[in-house]
Each structure stands twice: as structure tokens, then as C-alpha cells.
């Protein structure tokens, strides 16, 4: 083996894609052109529910390719979990902006000017999740005897908490180019999960093509918004390319992207919690409702993760969590960083502050006595190991943020401070990783070593971090490791790039592949081996740790191999006249197991926290008649530089022995904590807010409730009764 000893893991090495991005040379979907390329467009429904009676094309058909549901050679579905979502409407319309007809033309002006009239038979839409009679998925988690313990509890505290939809606002909208090639089809695009798109296209196109190839282009942000949705836009471009025989590009403009694509599931969570007078949680009864939108898409698994996290990082022997995801006539809601857990942990963490208020306890003390410790069991009965850091992150955050002094200084009624404690399961839930059976490979080349996975670089640093893991496991310089562009014809299926699994799970498979390669090449350096023997490819598959036990029927067992842990302290400043809340400094103490690349890890925490600050205070999806009414960046506001406070990140490294170099998942973790910490900071000013986004209107209503809310040790807010 080579004598190379310098390690890459743990250092903030130069990211593989850094210069390409800083110089503008990196190529995104819209930067690609192909000879003879047409532009594609989707004609969409304008009603939330009904049937299509007639379609009239009021344009000169010259040069147009037109596709409707009859042009689909295979199955008219977007293949995912239930296959209930059609690619193109046949008769029934279930939401505004549902795709009905596809057009392509070489001239974009003519394409956009083409007028299509659609006659509908109107139906009555279901727009309120609480009254929906169609349940996509029920989940029930049961531990101990909740009813008996609630009945016997010294105090029972109840509450209902709401979270709104959230739009991903990746700065690059969805986009793909479909290109006919050798009897088959290649799709290049802004895609998180190339094999999801591959499977959807194979189902859609059937025997009409001899192969499908999906290639990820540089991707301008995903956050879950390019997890399942790209199958839809890719299907549309593919159908147009197949019919026209020419490359077809579809790039959404911002309005189409916001109105037609997925959003974070809105939620309503009810808590009923039995406690002792000194603050121990004795029984928790939790009801979770998520609005799935018009089709099943990923709602069952979003609900699953949300439900599993709904009891928060707390010890309690008697827990019941009942969850359901229901249909409404809106665009399907889908994957978004955190995947259900930000919603349920928002509810839990605000509820914890309400328990503290009711008992007259300090919110930190309440969390300290209830935080999960190694040896405790979670709601699903998972016994936690030494990689549990709830208490440590809590104590560090209190210390580094100066929480106690700031909390004591909230008397002015303007500056508040709040706290949240949270956790996030790494990788797919339960037996999900076993079913995925992900594979990853490394290959010797004349230049060095190449990493082959379907994990996508969407900004989070996949290429860099995978190269670091392989470099150290193989004992070669980081610079000699290249990472192949994900192309389904070249790379093994490493599972989707989601669920905080890319470092811990796929990185772990790569580490094993590299270790095996190191054994196989023996004393040679990779370059020597290549010169003597030619290329060598080693592929490894996910192996589940033997101790993991999970029962999908009862939802009992080890829900995740490990968890990331975090604590946020948020400061806010309230304008007593406008009731606007300005976020102040946010402290984030997070246990990531091992920071493979500290600067990337910090970047994930900072960026995720900023997205969560927007979720808490600014990002309001206004729904009108089943459609997003503010589908523009002018009136759907995400945090700008001026809205984003300083974010202090402290990384804690309590390793997970099963992760590469001890790493846990971290991408979603920062989405869970800031919203409840901010709302708890507003609550520290005496305003009874229980929902997000915490807009001034919400604060005004909450202030009106304030007289009944005034409790010992808390001043009535100056805004009460205005």
C-alpha cells in the first residue's frame, strides 16, 4: 500500500464543485442545448375538482407537437408509492394546475402564445384537511397504558398547534431536457433521485423505448422539492420528445414552479399530556393530522417520520401517537427537508413551553428532567445507546447562548428568548434501508479512483464528502478521488438522496467498498495496480446492523439506526406597534456524530436554520380556491440577508459507531428546531402563539387571548387589548 497518510476526513478540503460554481462554468439544466431542440409547456387545470368535458386548441398547429393522455405508451401514472397520480388527466381533475395537455415548439414565443380552452364539469372541492373523508394513511404508535396514566395524572395539559405549508424555493426552478437516443431516451435534469425518475419513465413509456437513461445535471437546490416531483416534469418532456423525435426542454418559471409543485405538508397536532407537579412527563396522547393534497405521493412516509418524532426527545413510559394523512383538492404536498418531523416537533416543543408555563417551571429545567438519556426508550420502544446527546446539546446551548441572563431580561416586553430541543432520525425509517438495499462502487482509473453512486450533489456537498471518505478508507490523497456524474446507465442505485442518509448510509457503503479495494490491491498503490492489472471495480451493498429490529405492522422497534440531536436558543425582537417579530441571534448546538467536512457541516446547519427561520416568521403560502395565490417571490417572502440573523453553530461529535468515521445524518436536523424556539421566544413576551408562520395577524389574535393567558411570573404584554 502507498505510504500516503494525510487524512481528508475532518478537514474542510476544497469542495469538488467549488470553482465551477464560483466561475459560472457549472452546467445546470437550463444551460444545456441540443441540436433541433424544442421547448415544452404544460397546459394545466384551472379548477380544484371536476371533470374535463372538452379541450379546444385555438392555435395554428404548424410546428407544434401536442401530447395528451392517449399518447402515453405505458401506464398513465407517476410511479411512486401508490401509483394513483396520473401523468396527464384523462377525465377527473383533482387539483388546480393538474397537467392535462403538453405542447412543444421550436419557437418559445409561439409556444407560450398558444391558446387552449378547457371546458369542465365542476365538482365540490375538499379544501380543509380537518373535514376530509379520504385518509391516505393511518399510523398508530402505542407504548404503555396512556388512558390510565392520563386519568391518574396530577396535571393534564392540552393544546393544538398548527403549521402552514412551505414552498422550497430552490433558486433554480425545476427543469429537464429529454433527448431521444438510439431507440431510447435520455433525460438530463435538476433531480435529487435519478432512479426514482428512471422507474417512473420505464412505467410510463413501457416498450416504446429500448432504454431510459437519467442523468443529473448540476442542481440548484432541492430540499426535497426535487425528490419525487422531477418524475412529473421528466415524464412530460419524455412524452414530447418521444412524439416529436426531438430533444425537448421544459424549464418552469417561478410562478409555475410555486403553484404546480409540491410543498411541505400543513399540519394540525393535538397534545394531551399528563405530568407530575414537579414536571415529569407521565403520559402523552398525540394526534397528528397532515394535509396530503390531491394524490398520495410521499404522504405515508412523511406522516410516518412525523409521527415517530411527535413525542420529541423525551422519556415517557406511556405514549400514544395517532397520525393520519388525508386528501384535499390542492397540489400534492411532498418531501421537504425534515419530512414531517419539523411539523410534529414544532408542536411538541411549543407544548413543552406551555407545560412549563402551567407548572411555573423554567423551560430548560423541564427539558432537563425529561430529556432522553442513553438507556431510555423512545416512543417506538427503541433503547438508545451512548450516541444519544439530548442532554449534552441542551446544556451546551444554554451555556454558549447565555440563555439564563437573556431570559431574565425579557421584562421589557420587546426582547424575548426561547429554546427548543430536537432530534432527527438518520436514514430511512425502520426497515426502509433494508428494502432499499443500496449499492455504491469505486473504480480504479488511470487518473486515480472514481466514486460511482446515484447520490446527487444538490449543494450539500455529496461529491466532496464521499471523496473524503473514500480517500481515507483507501489511503489515497483526496485530490486523486473523482466522483462520477450520476447517470443511471453508469452508476449503481444508491437509493435516493434524501432522509439525511447520503453521508451516513451511502458514505458507509463507500467506506466498505474502499476498505475492500484496499485489501484487494494489497501492497500496490492504486496507480501501480492500475498499470499492472488494469481497472478494478468494487461494489458494496448496504448491510443492516444486526441489532436493528423493526416491525412495520406495530411500529415498534428501532425506528432509526441513530439520531442527530440539537438544541436551539432563539432571540427575537417584537415591534409593539406592528407586532412584527425580528429574529435575533440564533444558537444551534448540534450533534452530527462526526463532521466529515466541518465547513460543509456548519453550512448545512446555518442554511437549514435560515430556512426554518423563514418557516417560523415569513413564509406564508396563501391558498385561495385550492391554489397558491402568492406564487411569486414578490409576495412569498423567504429570508434575505436583512431578515437573517447571525447564526452561531456549535458542532458536537458524539459518534455513531455504525456511521463512516462516526458520522450521523445532519441535513434535515437544523429544520426541526428554530421554529419552536422562535415561537417560544415570542411566548416569553406573554403572547400565546401556537402556530406558524407567526405573522403579525397571528400575534394580534393571540394577544387578544392574553388576559386568560397571564400566569405567575409573566407580565401581560404591552400589546394586549390593543
Amino acid at each position: 500500500m502507498s505510504s500516503f497518510t494525510e487524512r481528508a476526513v475532518g478537514r474542510s478540503v476544497a469542495r469538488k464543485d467549488g470553482m465551477g460554481k464560483a466561475t459560472g462554468k457549472a452546467l445546470y439544466a437550463d444551460d444545456l442545448t441540443f441540436p433541433g431542440m424544442l421547448y415544452g409547456r404544460t397546459v394545466r387545470s384551472t379548477i380544484p375538482r371536476g371533470r374535463v368535458r372538452a379541450i379546444r386548441r385555438n392555435f395554428d398547429a404548424d410546428g407544434f407537437t401536442v401530447v395528451d393522455c392517449r399518447d402515453i405508451p405505458g401506464k398513465n401514472v407517476i410511479a411512486l408509492i401508490e401509483n394513483d397520480q396520473p401523468c396527464l388527466v384523462e377525465h377527473e381533475v383533482r387539483h388546480v394546475a393538474e397537467p392535462i395537455l403538453l405542447l412543444a415548439h421550436a419557437d418559445r414565443e409561439r409556444l407560450l402564445a398558444a391558446d387552449v380552452d378547457i371546458d369542465y364539469e365542476l365538482g365540490t372541492p375538499v379544501l380543509d384537511s380537518a373535514t376530509s373523508g379520504v385518509v391516505f394513511k393511518h399510523i398508530r404508535i402505542q407504548k404503555g397504558d396512556v388512558d390510565a396514566r392520563l386519568a391518574a395524572a396530577e396535571r393534564v395539559i392540552e393544546g393544538t398547534y398548527r403549521t402552514g405549508a412551505q414552498e422550497h424555493v430552490y433558486i433554480e426552478p425545476n427543469g429537464v431536457v429529454a433527448v431521444p437516443e438510439d431507440g431510447g431516451l435520455a433525460v438530463y435534469g435538476s433531480i435529487q433521485c435519478p432512479f426514482y425518475v428512471h422507474r417512473a419513465l420505464v412505467t410510463l413509456l413501457g416498450d416504446a423505448v429500448n432504454h431510459v437513461r437519467v442523468v443529473q445535471t448540476e442542481t440548484g437546490g432541492g430540499f426535497g422539492g426535487k425528490e419525487e416531483f422531477p418524475s412529473v416534469i421528466a415524464a412530460h418532456a419524455a412524452l414530447l420528445a418521444l412524439k416529436s423525435g426531438r430533444p425537448v426542454k421544459i424549464i418552469y418559471d417561478r410562478a409555475e414552479d410555486m403553484v404546480a409543485t409540491t410543498k411541505r405538508h400543513p399540519s394540525i397536532v393535538r397534545h394531551r399530556t399528563g405530568v407530575t407537579r414537579d414536571g415529569r412527563l407521565v403520559a402523552m396522547d398525540v394526534d397528528v393530522l397532515m394535509d396530503g393534497g390531491a394524490y398520495v405521493t410521499l404522504s405515508p412516509v412523511v406522516l410516518s417520520r412525523g409521527a415517530i418524532h411527535a413525542a420529541g426527545p423525551y422519556r415517557c413510559d406511556h405514549i400514544r401517537i395517532a397520525g393520519r394523512a388525508v386528501m384535499t383538492n390542492t397540489s400534492p404536498n411532498g418531501a421537504f427537508r425534515g419530512f414531517g418531523a419539523p411539523q410534529t416537533q414544532f408542536a411538541m416543543e411549543v407544548h413543552m413551553d406551555r407545560i412549563a408555563e402551567a407548572l411555573g417551571l423554567d423551560p430548560v429545567h423541564l427539558r432537563e428532567i425529561n430529556a432522553l438519556r442513553p438507556g431510555d426508550t423512545t416512543a417506538t420502544g427503541q433503547v438508545l445507546g451512548s450516541d444519544c446527546s439530548a442532554l449534552e446539546t441542551l446544556q451546551r446551548a444554554v451555556e454558549v447562548s447565555g440563555y439564563a441572563e437573556k431570559r431574565a431580561a425579557t421584562d421589557t416586553g420587546r426582547r424575548g428568548v426561547g429554546i427548543s430541543l430536537f432530534y432527527h432520525g438518520s436514514g430511512f425509517t425502520g426497515s426502509g434501508e433494508l428494502r432499499l438495499a443500496s449499492r455504491a462502487a469505486i473504480e480504479l482509473t488511470e487518473r486515480g479512483v472514481q466514486v460511482l453512486t446515484s447520490s446527487t450533489e444538490i449543494g450539500q456537498g455529496t461529491r466532496t464528502m464521499h471523496a473524503q471518505i473514500v480517500a481515507d478508507a483507501l489511503g489515497v490523497p483526496y485530490e486523486s478521488v473523482e466522483v462520477a456524474q450520476p447517470d443511471t446507465s453508469r452508476v449503481p442505485d444508491s437509493g435516493p438522496t434524501v432522509a439525511s442518509r447520503t453521508c451516513m448510509v451511502v458514505g458507509g457503503i463507500l467506506q466498505r467498498a474502499a476498505t475492500e479495494m484496499r485489501q484487494r490491491i494489497g501492497d500496490s498503490s492504486p496507480a501501480e495496480y492500475f498499470r499492472e492489472h488494469g481497472s478494478l471495480r468494487v461494489e458494496a451493498e448496504y448491510e443492516q446492523p444486526e441489532w436493528i429490529q423493526w416491525d412495520d405492522e406495530t411500529y415498534r422497534g428501532d425506528a432509526y439506526a441513530t439520531y442527530g440531536w440539537g438544541c436551539n436558543v432563539a432571540e427575537v425582537e417584537l415591534d409593539p406597534v406592528t407586532l412584527e417579530v425580528r429574529p435575533g441571534r440564533l444558537t444551534a448546538v448540534v450533534d452530527v456524530g462526526k463532521a466529515i467536512h466541518p465547513a460543509l457541516a456548519v453550512g448545512q446547519i446555518e442554511g437549514g436554520s435560515a430556512q426554518a427561520i423563514g418557516y417560523a416568521l415569513l413564509e406564508h403560502v396563501v391558498m385561495r380556491d385550492g391554489a397558491m395565490a402568492n406564487g411569486q417571490l414578490t409576495n412569498y417572502v423567504i429570508p434575505t440577508t436583512l431578515d437573517t440573523p447571525p447564526i452561531d453553530v456549535v458542532l458536537v461529535e458524539n459518534p455513531y459507531p455504525g456511521g463512516p468515521f462516526g458520522a450521523k445524518g445532519l441535513g434535515e436536523l437544523p429544520m426541526d428546531g428554530p421554529a419552536p424556539a422562535i415561537v417560544n421566544a415570542i411566548r416569553s413576551l406573554g403572547i400565546d402563539v401556537r402556530e406558524i408562520p407567526a405573522l403579525p395577524e397571528i400575534l394580534l389574535r393571540a394577544s387578544a387571548r392574553a388576559p386568560g393567558f397571564a400566569i405567575a411570573g409573566q407580565r401581560k404584554p404591552t400589546t394586549a387589548g390593543r
Partner: protein, 154 residues
């Protein structure tokens, strides 16, 4: 239309009411300038016209007649680019060219507030802006030893 593009005199035939963004990307094949929203909110399409940062999605091509246009491809921004690389100021990278063009107007040793104001029209959804401030702070450090910033990356 005759104008100066990245330091070279050019003559580009395009409809005067087309968006400068489209003319740059399609007619001039300079795809480093990105479109994020098409309504002047996100700043991904920021370029310099006569040294001023503007959003090219809101500029009709006619307005660049006789002017000096700079895009990321021709920007004298190596120090910023290197620092964005070193400090992970770019994650997904789609806002990065616009962010760098907007940052070029900042003087040496900018304060956090000056950076926030200069970049207020440039949205980033990945970083929370902190790494961008670190990168710009490094690139604009008054006593930088070398303009190319060859300090070690680790």
C-alpha cells in the same frame, strides 16, 4: 446593438425588447448568468452595467446600447471566487454568480451591515448567508497578501 461585453466590443443582433438575461444566455452563450425568478426578486441574474449591479431579467436589451456589460465570465473577481470556494460560500451554486457580481461593489473590509445591504437583493436558499459573509470578508480583507488568495484551504 453595439456594446462592450466583458471587455470586448461586440455587435449583437437581437430584438431590443428581449431581456438582457436571454440575450446573454442564448445569443452570447454566456450561461453563467442564471434565472431564478424572472421578476427581479432573487438576483441570480445580476450583471454589471457600467459598473453598477443590475438584475438582467428586468433590463430590455435596448438599454445596453453603447454601455459596458460584465458577466461572471468576464468579471475581475478571482479573489472573491477563490474565497467563495475556500469558505463554502457556494452550496448549490445557482445564486453564486449573481452573488459575486453584487459583492464586487463592496470596498475593503466591509462590515456585516454593508454586506447585508449590498446583497439584500440576492437570495440564497442554501447558506443562511453566513458563509457568504465569511468568503467576502476574506476576499475583501484590506491587507491580503496575495490577490489570488493562496492560503491553505484546510
Amino acid at each position: 446593438m453595439q456594446f462592450t461585453l466583458n471587455g470586448r466590443e461586440v455587435d449583437v443582433a437581437a430584438h431590443p425588447m428581449r431581456r438582457l438575461l436571454d440575450v446573454l444566455r442564448e445569443d452570447c452563450e454566456l450561461t453563467g448568468t442564471k434565472e431564478g425568478c424572472g421578476e427581479g426578486e432573487c438576483g441570480a441574474c445580476t450583471v454589471l452595467i457600467d459598473g453598477q449591479a443590475v438584475v438582467s431579467c428586468l433590463v430590455p436589451f435596448a438599454q445596453v446600447d453603447g454601455r459596458d456589460v460584465r458577466t461572471i465570465e468576464g468579471a475581475d473577481a478571482q479573489a472573491l471566487q477563490r474565497a467563495f470556494m475556500d469558505h463554502v460560500g457556494a452550496q448549490c451554486g445557482i445564486c453564486t454568480p449573481g452573488m459575486i457580481m453584487a459583492a464586487m461593489s463592496l470596498g475593503p473590509d466591509p462590515t456585516r451591515k454593508q454586506m447585508q445591504e449590498a446583497l439584500a437583493g440576492n437570495l440564497c436558499r442554501c447558506t443562511g448567508y453566513e458563509a457568504i459573509y465569511r468568503a467576502i470578508g476574506e476576499a475583501k480583507r484590506a491587507n491580503r497578501r496575495t490577490p489570488l488568495g493562496v492560503e491553505s484551504i484546510g
